[in-house]
């Protein structure tokens, strides 16, 4: 089968969901941006993404293909899986950035290490002490942890703003330098949110 030709009628139907001639559902493309018909940008308007998701769900969902040919049912299943995967990844700024980083050859998996960002070393040390105290039943550590939680949330907020700025930079320039900065920031942000999560768990 020619890659770009419709499997049913043989007409060219390059990169569209349905054949323009016989309307048969085509095998889906795997790239999230291409699949959704969106330019590859890091800044995404989530409301727009959501309406694209709903619109395409109505077109592609297996519930709609129940009485069609087995082949179209299979394509509908695969296409909807990609649609759902794409929506889940692209609506979340962090996952979206990781997706683009991975496409650009950055290794994301190995960046999940637990190296403490140097500027947080002291803070983390104190925090662990306070956490130990609370786990040991010492409630006096509570206010300190509450403060730490607030501080982490603020730091997370700052990181998000910074991320937003870097996203705009990348969309304007498309350079690897910006992507490298984004990767570094994502690591820091991940570390902070893990800390915040840990504190929150103890405070509950």
């Amino acid at each position: 089968m020619e890659k770009d030709n419709c499997w049913q009628c043989g007409h060219r139907s390059a990169e569209s969901l349905f054949c323009r001639f016989c309307n048969a559902l085509q095998p889906p493309v795997m790239d999230y941006y291409a699949f959704l018909g969106m330019p590859r940008r890091l800044k995404i308007e989530t409301g727009e993404l959501e309406s694209t998701f709903y619109r395409m769900s109505r077109l592609l969902h297996p519930d709609r293909y129940h009485r069609r040919t087995p082949r179209e049912r299979q394509y509908s299943l695969e296409a909807t899986a990609i649609l759902n995967d794409a929506y889940r990844v692209l609506r979340d700024p962090v996952k979206r950035a990781e997706y683009v980083l991975r496409q650009e050859g950055f290794n994301i998996g190995e960046q999940r290490g637990n190296d403490v960002p140097p500027e947080l070393l002291e803070e983390v040390f104190e925090l662990n002490e306070a956490l130990e105290e609370l786990r040991g039943g010492d409630q006096s550590a509570r206010p300190q942890l509450e403060q730490a939680r607030q501080r982490f949330l603020a730091m997370q907020h700052d990181a998000d703003r910074e991320l937003d700025r870097l996203f705009a930079d990348f969309d304007a320039r498309g350079d690897r330098q910006t992507l490298a900065s984004i990767r570094a920031l994502l690591n820091r942000r991940r570390y902070i949110s893990n800390l915040a999560g840990e504190v929150e768990k103890e405070l509950l």
Binding site: H61, H66, R67, A81
Partner: protein
């Protein structure tokens, strides 16, 4: 006669898909009638089929209400709450089995087998007997063969439990077009989409399972944001608490203990359930029980019940909070709350839900029926009769593979919208290695042994080559039923790689096929006599209905203009076609009487 049989069969459209709620305690079927879903009653007019199956000495299988009666006379051959055993291994259900009067057969590690008399049955086969009863009721009521169904499952059911439910459908001769999560079905039934948009929480406390789902509604799309639950928490647990109290009382009063699993305990269980149900409406009831001339009675108050079940109600609140957190919402962002399942009639449950979500729950629809009604709506969606609606559900549990040191690498996270997929590339560790074994698990824990083993996938016939050279891409895809499909491709050749599936709990395809064959064969042998007996009963019902309808002017209208609104007569004629000869004659006789009556006028 000719006039009657000139009905235009062309008006009969595509085969009807029924919706089925295969519950722990009760099961129901529903269909879509014009615009709204309706419950399908049995020939006697009962809307509920108790999920009870009994096997007679001669191997005859009885399901539903008659089986429920047999719980008292032959408890060791009668199965109830089989849903709790679906997709489970013997080790999972030790506690449970202690309470059941029936026994499991030896060698039930991967697939439970219940020993009923001299025969063994797997939980899917028992469920199939219930489904067969529902199918038969539906065929009698609708007057047409029914071969396709949407069946509901608890949202928190894992892969094996879902697969077992699908197997049950196949064994019963039903093509299961879709498994729908029960809370989602309930939201569909409520037609809450009419409000255009909003966030709905569905709290579903049934006989054996608890589910909480939070949905976002927008222009007919029902998007599940998060789900949580406990597949081992429900009304059964409340019954057991009350039963334990009564058993203790009796032991101290009578100085003998009732044999576990015996008929007496089943009678006591029934009395306790009745008392529990009454306590939802009155502050106190008298529990009475008589056995072999001895009498036991005590007062049960709602206050005592509430004290007893407080821990159970509290156990439902944890999943509710987790679900809110996963959906990224706070309680005040929930616009509506829907209650599902018989246990939500309990005032304490209602008030706990109301307090948590700060919203007055919906209770307009019967909580026992709402799930089946929703299944019928989903059936209509699949048939193309409700295209304005679309359900987007999620997978309740994370899916992962076991890696080095027994650690789980998560591939698809819980609460991902389904269908969902993930791709991983595998290679060989030893020169010339021909197989790669992938252990897939479900659950949230870090270690594979703390998760639920789902299956082992064996990538077979890998071309021999040095270690690390093979590149096999495996695609894990969870379909719209929440069931995992695995395909593999050799990246070097681009060819499909064969995969052998060894489910950890549950039946292989071959086993299911064998059960289907067996059920068809035994159906022919064992049940021929029973069918005739039932046909007679059914004919009696029809005769009575024909008699009663004679005086009704609407009946005459339908009679003369069958193709316009075939209605009941059409169904009777169709039904007659499925019945054995003698009842066919009875129906014809009834028609003759009826026509004579018309001619007289």
């Amino acid at each position: 006669m000719s006039q009657i049989f000139q009905i235009d069969f062309g008006t009969q459209k595509k085969a009807r898909v029924v919706g089925i709620d295969l519950g722990t305690t009760n099961s129901l079927a529903a269909y879509m009638d014009a615009a709204s879903p309706r419950i399908i009653p049995d020939p006697a007019g009962r809307r509920i089929v108790p999920s009870v199956v009994s096997v007679a000495e001669d191997g005859e299988i009885i399901a539903g209400e008659p089986a429920r009666e047999l719980l008292l006379s032959r408890p060791e051959r009668t199965v109830y709450s089989v849903k709790r055993l679906m997709g489970r291994g013997a080790a999972d259900v030790q506690d449970e089995l202690r309470r059941f009067p029936f026994h499991i057969a030896p060698g039930s590690e991967t697939v439970l087998r219940l020993q009923l008399g001299d025969r063994q049955f797997t939980p899917p086969e028992i469920s199939a007997a219930i489904l067969r009863q529902l199918k038969k009721n539906a065929e009698a009521f609708l007057g047409e063969p029914v071969s396709q169904a949407v069946i509901t499952v608890p949202a928190y059911f894992n892969d094996a439990q879902r697969q077992a439910t699908k197997d049950a459908g196949r064994i019963a001769g039903l093509e299961v077009l879709r498994l729908v999560n029960e809370p989602t079905a309930a939201a569909l039934a409520y037609g809450l989409d009419k409000r255009k948009q909003g966030v709905v929480a569905v709290y579903d406390l049934g006989g054996g399972t608890f589910d909480i789902s939070i949905l976002k509604l927008q222009d007919g799309i029902f998007e599940v944001l998060a789900t949580n639950g406990d597949t081992h928490l429900g009304g059964d647990d409340i019954d057991n608490l009350l039963l334990d109290i009564a058993l203790e009382d009796i032991q101290s009063e009578w100085k003998t203990s009732l044999a576990r699993g015996g008929a007496a305990v089943q009678m006591l269980r029934r009395a306790v359930i009745e008392a529990k149900e009454k306590l939802s409406f009155v502050p106190s009831v008298n529990l009475e029980f008589e056995f072999e001339g001895r009498k036991y009675q005590r007062e049960l108050t709602r206050e005592l019940l509430e004290r007893l079940i407080r821990p159970i109600v509290d156990r439902t609140l944890g999943p509710c909070r987790a679900c809110l957190r996963d959906a990224g919402l706070t309680p005040d962002q929930i616009d509506e709350v829907v209650l599902v399942g018989g246990s939500t009639r309990i005032p304490l449950v209602r008030s706990a839900v109301e307090t948590l979500f700060r919203a007055r729950p919906h209770t307009e629809l019967n909580p026992d029926e709402v799930v089946a009604l929703g299944a019928a709506v989903q059936a209509a969606i699949l048939s193309g009769d409700a295209e304005d609606k679309l359900l987007l559900d999620v997978t309740p549990l994370s899916l992962g593979i076991e890696t080095m040191g027994g650690v789980v690498s998560k591939l698809i996270h819980r609460n991902s919208t389904i269908p969902a997929s993930a791709t991983e590339v595998f290679t060989t560790a030893v020169d010339g290695q021909r197989n790669v074994l992938i252990h897939v698990v479900q659950g949230e824990r870090e270690l594979a042994r703390d998760c639920r083993s789902l299956a082992r996938f064996d990538l077979k016939d890998i071309a021999p080559m040095p270690a690390g050279m093979a590149r096999i891409e495996v695609r894990f895809l969870i379909d719209a039923n929440g069931i995992l499909n695995v395909t593999a491709r050799d990246l070097r050749t681009g060819k499909e790689q064969s995969v052998d599936v060894k489910p950890s709990y549950g039946l292989t395809d071959e086993q299911v096929e064998a059960m289907i064959r067996e059920s068809i064969e035994s159906a022919e042998e064992d049940f021929a006599a029973r069918q005739v007996r039932e046909a007679r009963l059914e004919a009696d019902t029809i005769l009575a209905a024909v008699d009663k309808a004679k005086g009704n002017p609407a009946w005459d209208f339908q009679f003369f203009v069958p193709e316009y609104q075939p209605g009941r007569l059409y169904r009777f004629v169709m039904r007659a076609a499925y019945l054995p000869y003698e009842s066919h004659q009875q129906v014809e006789a009834a028609m003759r009487v009826h026509r004579a009556a018309l001619a007289d006028r």
